[in-house]
């Protein structure tokens, strides 16, 4: 049984279609990334999952319970943050967590543990309004962890963090995944997801344009190829064309339309024509490239 699923989820606000038929599911223990540019529908999807907004059509299930009707029976096993964590600015971080924890019967000792885990033990007694955005974000993650949840739903957890903070959150997400928790994280910071998620869904203009394991999405988003550096690009291109190998120039290199197993063929074709390569490597697509390619069409269509 999936821990979390959205089935043909749709949400409109008047004429604006924020989420348009999104379907995906998350298995137990997975770390799942929801990617998309700003306005793609990530936060609305998460709000639907948490019962904050009602879907116009389709539905969501968390831990086997329908959202929003069944949420009360499972909310104790779900930790979440939605956008920038919204806490009482004039209360201390500790007091905020204690008040939230009191709703679920979580005591002060757990609050202490969580503050230590998110690196706020020393600032726990300061008012939240004195916190930086990054500290608020960490406090929000702390609030999500208070219930020791099976399922974590984190909306843009690295928002506002500096590079060191982003690495910290990435490590935290990784460790949460290793603890066997199911982590569902939305982000527009792709490295954050590429390094932590097993599966991804890429949203663009309210639609899921790619869903699946990270490797598959990377492969599907860009054809396999090899990047070759030679001194004379034109001569290299000619040599490859004579050998029947499709290639093109790409940012000072030759991009050859062959999988990594074709490296020997390329080397031979170039050497036979007196062109000696100084670099040969697989053209590995990263999530950013795939993301940009996948979202460009739908974003332009939406405009």
């Amino acid at each position: 049984m999936p821990i979390l699923e959205c089935k043909d989820l749709r949400k409109s606000f008047g004429d604006l279609v924020a989420v348009n038929g999104v379907t995906f599911e998350i298995a137990n223990g997975e770390t799942y990334g929801l990617l998309g540019p700003n306005g793609a529908g990530k936060t609305t999807t998460i709000r639907c999952l948490l019962g904050l907004v009602r879907p116009s059509a389709g539905g969501c299930r968390l831990l086997g319970a329908d959202a929003p009707g069944g949420l009360p029976s499972v909310v104790g096993r779900v930790g979440s943050i939605v956008e920038t964590p919204l806490l009482y600015p004039r209360f201390s971080g500790r007091r905020n967590l204690e008040l939230l924890g009191a709703i679920a019967g979580v005591g002060p000792s757990r609050v202490r543990q969580v503050l230590e885990r998110v690196g706020l033990a020393e600032r726990g007694d300061d008012q939240v309004r004195t916190y930086s955005l990054g500290m608020r974000q960490r406090l929000g993650i702390g609030a999500a962890l208070l219930k020791d949840p099976e399922l974590l739903i984190l909306d843009e957890p690295a928002n506002g963090l500096d590079p060191a903070g982003i690495v910290e959150v990435r490590e935290l997400l990784r460790s949460l995944g290793h603890e066997g928790r199911t982590v569902f994280v939305s982000s527009h910071i792709l490295s954050e997801v590429q390094h932590t998620a097993d599966h991804v869904a890429i949203l663009s203009a309210g639609r899921a344009v790619a869903v699946g394991p990270v490797g598959e999405v990377l492969r599907a988003g860009r054809s396999e190829g090899l990047l070759v550096r030679v001194d004379d690009l034109a001569a290299g291109l000619r040599a490859l064309a004579e050998a029947g190998i499709a290639a093109a120039t790409d940012d000072g290199l030759l991009r050859v339309e062959l999988p990594a197993t074709g490296a020997a063929t390329v080397t031979k074709a170039l050497a036979d024509s007196g062109q000696y390569l100084s670099e040969l490597r697989p053209d590995e697509a990263d999530l950013e490239t795939v993301f940009l390619e996948l979202t460009r069409g739908t974003e332009e269509g939406a405009r």
Partner: protein, 246 residues
């Protein structure tokens, strides 16, 4: 529900506005006591005191009730709370109960402090003559004043819950009191039987010629105001249950 209620009481008590309001009220009481001391206050006139405090206490009730939920909407903490307790009716009821009970307790305590201070002033530099029965009479009026402040708090809470903003509730209250009530009194005086102000007057003072169109007893006016507050809270609950939280 009891955990949620306990949390809401703690939140109410920790609010800065509550503390500042209480401090200002205590400052007012101290000043009033000083005036009473210098003017040789008579204990027999104590029952008139709660009537004099009714208006500010009703305003305090309205403000505290409205801001209790309005500030949550403003800060966005309603979103956070609903991710911990998705049963919206429970959330709103817990807040409403904590808000109105706290308003009642605070306004009663302020009146008790005022009455005690004035009694001391009367005994030190005033008169206690002819003051038999002042305590029960004063207590009855003070209870009605606090009940009225509580109802105002409930109505303010309902307005702010629907408007998702304290300012919206305060603005609506001001517009109602200044514009609507005066328009009704001037243009359709027979409708004034349904106004908050007239019924509040009857509830505090009993039927009198000051409220010629209100054909209700003191209890009847109290029941009418309670029904009004309950209806507005029911509307707020319905809206809170059905509207998206963005």
């Amino acid at each position: 529900m009891s955990r949620l209620l306990w949390v809401e009481f703690r939140r109410f008590g920790a609010r800065r506005l509550v503390r500042v309001t209480a401090l200002l009220a205590l400052g007012g009481i101290a000043f009033g006591t000083f005036i009473a001391y210098t003017e040789q206050f008579r204990l027999a006139s104590m029952p008139d005191v709660p009537l004099g405090t009714a208006f500010p206490l009703v305003v305090i009730g309205w403000l505290l009730g409205a801001s209790f939920i309005g500030a949550e909407w403003h800060a966005g903490t309603v979103t956070t709370l609903l991710t911990w307790e998705p049963r919206r009716i429970r959330v709103l009821f817990a807040k409403a109960i904590a808000g109105v009970v706290s308003v009642f307790v605070i306004t009663m305590l302020l009146q008790v402090v005022l009455a005690a201070s004035l009694s001391l002033a009367a005994s030190l530099n005033g008169s206690t003559a002819g003051s038999e029965g002042w305590l029960s009479e004063t207590a009855a009026i003070a209870l009605r004043v606090s009940a009225l402040a509580t109802l105002a708090g409930a109505i303010g809470f309902a307005f702010a819950a629907v408007g998702r903003n304290t300012a919206a509730a305060l603005g609506a209250g001001f517009a109602y009191v200044v514009v609507i009530e005066n328009l009704v009194r001037g243009l359709k005086p027979e409708w004034s039987a349904w106004l908050f102000g007239e019924n509040a007057g009857v509830f505090l003072l009993g039927p009198s010629n000051d409220f010629p169109f209100v054909d209700r007893s003191q209890l009847g006016a109290g029941i009418y105001l309670s029904l009004l507050a309950a209806t507005l809270l029911a509307v707020a609950t319905l809206v809170f249950r059905t509207r998206d939280v963005n």
